[in-house]
Amino acid sequence: MEPSALLTFLFLPAAVAVINLFLPVRAAKALTLLTLLYLLYCAITLWPSASLGSSSVYLGVDRLAAFVLLFAQILSTVILLFSLKGVRRDIERFFFVLFPLTVAFCNGVLLSRHALLFLIFWGLSGVSLYLFALLGKDAEASAAAKKTFIIIGGSDVFLILGLVLLIGSRPVDLWWLDKLNLRPEAPLYWLAFVSLLIASLAKAGGFPLHTWVPDFSKSSPIESVALLPASLDKLLGIFLLARMMTSLFVVGLTVKMIVVSIGAFTIISAVMMALSQHNGRRMLGYHAVSQVGYMIMGVGSGNPLAFAGGLFHMINHTIYKSNLFLSLGSVEKQTGSSEFDDLGGLAKSMPLTFIMALVGALAISGIPPFNGFFSKWMIYQGLLETAKTLPVGYQLWMLICLILAIFGSALTLASFVKFLHAVFLGRNPGTHKVREAPINQWLATGILAILCAIFGLFAVALPLKKLIVPVMVDLGMPEAMQFIGFFHPLLLLGLFAVVFGLGILLYFLVRTVRYDDVYLGGQPADPRFRITGSDFYREVREMPVLNKIFAAADKKYCDVYEMGSKGTFAFSGWLQKLHPGLLPLYILYIFLGLLILGLVINIGG
């Protein structure tokens, strides 16, 4: 691939962003859509020829990058389709400037071969996240923006540190991010590894650097939530992790196990938090964190099958999670709220949105035959395969991680049952007059829902054989497709359809239907006695031990940002006390300082 062709992915969207500043909003929308469609076409044509053979020092694209690039274009195109109608009027202009700009930055990260360029685009994509967060309208928006910026920006420091350590000792023309294969004996190897791990976890939203994701999800425009934390940031973070595990470092077993454990802990802790949320956006935000755990487990384990599963889960997640965010966005735009207690009974008035959200919910909970199941299934098999060869202690360790992951998906199902119940089912007289979302919105969610089904039913034939196997071959793991179990989604669907058809046929042959009001033991249905579902899991919250953990989480003890800011203020408060404005005290400080200086020089000399 010619490097000049790669420049299209950077400069075209950036140029469109600048042009959009001056165009009327309608024209800006059309131009952005056309640009993204063109980029999608370019990404598709780029895929077969992606190789590092003819790339330059600065830009280059291998299979992994081309793969992620393709999905970045697909997702941003679909999300733009959703945004064509419904973005808040007062932010519309800026939104359509920021959108192509974000795409340009994201493409920049993926196409950079040179570490410095990678770093710059990585930072810029963090900035666009901050700018999107500022567009939020509620009172917490600016606080969420600050938090996002500090965590993401802070993790950039670690990225710089990691990259400097990694390549500082090498000649300048070797600042490439592919094929470094740093061995553990290299100086400061561990520091570099941990620094890059922090950067990738913060971007993807892994524990303990995940806390910006729910806050960002709560208050930013929903389109940007679907675009960044749900899709592009996942792609970027896991892209970096995949690079680390394959071409930057040669990683030993214990490190792999630690990374897998981080993944397992991310899954279970975030999904537990998601269970107890009362706001749809925050709940989905926590799920955006919890799902990262599976990707970290898969990619971090180093097993080829689990690695392929992790990559597959990454794209699956971007598809169903943006679907869910966008469906909730439609609901929010039609009803004006994302609080569970305000919603309910919407399946009747928004049937299309309900179907799309149902597909997304089943996919994220890993219900076969949707895509989420297939990738989780691959990861589980890979982990089992690894466990088989390990000594007993490691075996148990791996099995515990596996239990957490499988149980995590039961918890995911539970919290999505609550979501579906609270938003779409049950009864709420207040939502009878709500209208279905506009066509562009359910078209966008519909495309994503169909992708969920296709990637599940034709998982082996389409995404795996056509996309992921070439990536794995390129990464030197050609044996990725040797499943230890088996699953035939199409046959399952066929058999299911036969029996379901027979049952429904029998029903239609014998049925006599009468319509009546809901039966509550003869009492009238009083809207005061309404079950929204937001309290479904009170018993879980109130369990001994768990109640302590939830209470600690409510006090933000697990939040690096909150704890960090508390620590900083405590330290600066202490410093403030040392400055009471007394002249004799300052003179004492000067003398003490001189004394210490003298001692240090004396010892040093």
Partner: protein
């Protein structure tokens, strides 16, 4: 889809076999329960009569509910249970892998609960919503222990996840139930399936005397008939699964068939005894029982299995 698969699906071990055996065993359930309460109990064909009678009754649909979801739910659950029974049955009786492995099965088993919850809460009935919340909490409660006992079987089979392979390992090396980890896992599994079938003491979601059948409250006529059929079909699916995972599976000779039938009847009778001698527990006690007692015990079983005991 070949003719053989259609036979598997619709006749044996799928639809016809599971439904007939389930309804017959349902008679045993009702008869034994009646004897526990000093009643006479129904005739053998009572469950068949009930099913056919319900097919003839009218279906009452709540006017402002989501009709399609309400009607489709029992049939989705039914179709999924038939697929599951085929999956388990082919592995058990034909010793072949079919449709999917144990991980697939674990996830497919959740679909019944999803259908029950969505169908029930589509009506907007308060009791159904309460029941839906409890149903999913029960799933959370028993799933943790259930995952662990499935892993015990996987580890003991030398990390095989195909059902037929797990059975084959036992045919070659003796049933897992004969080992300490196997027997613990089997017993915990017995309690898990009691919860998964919502039998007392775990009939919390349906609690007739309290929330009037919960998710099933608004159901009537043919859809209700299918919910009952689903319930009785699970009387074959879950015991078969336990036998397959821990108790050596099935041998196709004279003595083997007799031995298999005895194992199956024993499991069912134990379930019925448990059902009739234990009052319903509260949802929080059920959660606590499964997370704080069943989970550690099954974890011990897993540790033992990893150690090869």
């Amino acid at each position: 889809m070949s003719l053989q698969m259609v036979f598997y699906l619709l006749v044996f071990p799928g639809l016809l076999f599971t439904a007939v055996l389930g309804l017959s065993i349902g008679w045993l359930d009702r008869k034994l329960s009646a004897r526990f309460q000093y009643r006479v109990g129904p005739p053998f064909l009572q469950n068949f009569y009930d099913f056919i009678k319900l097919l003839g009754k009218e279906t009452i649909v709540v006017r402002d509910s989501v009709h399609s979801l309400f009607i489709a739910a029992p049939f989705v659950a039914f179709a999924m249970l038939v697929c599951i029974s085929t999956l388990i049955g082919v592995a058990l009786f034909y010793k072949q892998g079919f449709l999917g492995d144990l991980f697939v099965l674990m996830y497919l088993l959740m679909i019944y609960s999803i259908a029950l919850i969505l169908g029930g809460s589509a009506t907007g009935n308060v009791y159904s919503s309460l029941g839906a919340g409890r149903e999913i909490k029960m799933l959370l409660a028993d799933e943790l222990a259930f995952i662990l006992i499935c892993l015990v079987a996987i580890v003991k089979a030398g990390y095989e996840i195909g059902l037929a392979e797990i059975a084959a390992v036992q045919q070659a090396r003796g049933a897992f139930i004969a080992s300490p980890s196997g027997i613990i896992a089997f017993l915990i599994g017995l309690i898990c399936i009691q919860a998964k079938m919502a039998l007392p003491p775990f009939n919390i979601a349906e609690a007739e005397t309290e929330i009037v059948e919960g998710p099933l409250m608004e159901y009537s006529g043919p859809p209700l008939a299918f919910w009952y059929l689903n319930h009785f079909m699970m009387f074959t699916i879950y015991p078969f699964l336990l036998i397959l995972l821990f108790w050596g599976g099935f041998s196709a000779n004279g003595l083997g068939i007799l031995w298999f039938s005895l194992k199956y009847l024993l499991i069912v009778v134990v379930m019925i005894i448990l059902k009739n001698t234990n009052p319903r527990v509260r949802i929080d006690s059920a959660l606590r029982f499964f997370w704080r007692i069943a989970f550690p015990i099954s974890f011990i079983a897993l540790v033992l299995a990893v150690l090869g005991v």
